[in-house]
Amino acid sequence: MEIPYTVTARPDTGLWNAKIGVWLFLASEVMLFGGLFSSYIFLRLGADYFWPIHELNVKMGCFNTAVLIGSSVTIVMAWAGVKMRNYKMYFWNLLITILCAFLFLTVKFFEYKSKIEHYGVVLKDGTILLGHQPEEGYRYKFNADSVTLNFKEADPPYFMRFATKPAGEHGGAHDEHGSAPAEILPIETVKFKTESGKETTLAPADFQALKSEAKAAKKDSLKLTPVQPLAFHAKPSKLASHSEKSLAFLDGTLIEGKLVSDKMELHVDVIDTRAAPDADKSMAWAIFKDAGWKKAFDESREEHLKKFNETHPGQDPMKSDHYLREALRFEVHGETPAAHEAKHKEGVGFFDDMPWAEHHYPTVEIEGKDIQRWSNFLPKWNTYYAIYFTITGLHGAHVLAGALVMLYFLVFNSRWFKTDPEHLANRVETGGLFWHFVDLVWIFLFPLLYLL
């Protein structure tokens, strides 16, 4: 069956059908993104923290903006190419548009990745330390005296198998690349003794035997004692609770013994004292053993204060967001205060904030009791990242969808160039309209999320 009005205009609307269709769709898209932008306004007005400004990688965002604008030009040129019956112009412009879409998504992937790998730690006084965690991440280090299995769970204990270490691996031996995590002991190889003195392991067969024994004795749990000394490096998110003497994993397995350390190791790249009552008394300065860091912070603050007083004479700097961000949010550029100072003097390189740049940051140890909360920069960190990932994720899905549609046109409809060029032109125009919409959403997203 021939679909009517794909090329010629329908008399009553004055338009070919697909054009009405895509504009109606765009009207609904305006509502969809409008709702999310409206949420952005609410979240921003209601935020009880300093809204991040220039915290995302501006260069990558700027590059992606240029990529999208470039692709907006090429898609309209591809359409013009069909209209002007110039196949090369059509083909290459459409191909470049598709490649731009995938380039955009690739850059976005690296932006997301850098957020997933970056952590924020809120100290008890409100100071925020930003940085990267060593390879193993944050772990409670614990020496085990006994392991109590919980038979309400169907399977052998799950979470402890990722945390079991040979004893004596808590030492904090660091090489130059950070800490060297001890190998995880395969749980099947660890020998335990039951209360009756029988030797066993937690291999599935042994576990089933233990379980049937317990069932016969009408017991829900069973206490095992490790034959050789045993340690656990437990991820906080896999624990239901912990104390000085016990760890309880989410699956109900209880480890009794002694907490050796709940210190978090962090390679710090930003010290944000804006939310601390007094930047001079921030907990950060006790955590950084080298007093040079406080001195570097003071010098940088002085510098910004001088600049502020010159440009805004008579104004209160503490009421300027701009000043607070520049002066109280201290960016670290070296492993030691001296290295930081040197870097500061020579100037931070243009590409220093790119993912491929090599960095050396000071490593600090933060006591568990000093931490209010911590997380990587995902939606749970704050509402800014929640709306950031929601809108850019949805926008990214649109970029992917647009790229696939255009790829379809390129592969399956290009032959129409000879047989039915006006139909092809209309298809490219419809796809193009959608593509321009994706571009204009980004034109607002870029300043709102990256710059302002």
Binding site: A27, S28, S38, F42, C62, D439, I443, P447, L452
Partner: protein
């Protein structure tokens, strides 16, 4: 409508110029965001004005809204009205203290 090959050919240069203008304005937006205009609201107003100008270029030139059929303007007008409502909804929470609470939490009560 720009339908004949000759007319389309005339527009090609315009498309390239608009593309260049959009790239230039992107650079301007980035630069302006680093300038301290006194209050951050001013930065917001200036940045969003540039962004709005950029989107109008895209809509008018690339999406051909400078010469479209009336029916499409009607759709979009309706859509824009609802968008306007969504963007002004927050004024209704002002009495709820949402704005002041956020402000005080960040800057303290002074």
């Amino acid at each position: 409508m720009a339908n004949s090959p000759e007319e389309v050919a005339k527009h090609v240069k315009t498309y390239l110029k608009v593309g260049a203008a959009l790239l230039f304005l992107t650079a301007v937006t980035v630069w302006l965001s680093y300038v301290d205009f006194g209050t951050h609201s001013r930065n917001m107003a200036i940045g969003l004005t540039v962004a709005t100008f950029k989107t109008s270029l895209v809509v008018l030139i690339f999406m051909h809204m400078n010469h479209e059929r009336p029916l499409i303007y009607k759709f979009m007008l309706f859509s824009m009205l609802l968008l306007g409502v969504m963007f002004t909804l927050f004024v209704f929470v002002h009495d709820d203290g949402l704005i002041m609470r956020g402000y005080q939490a960040v800057f303290g009560k002074h």
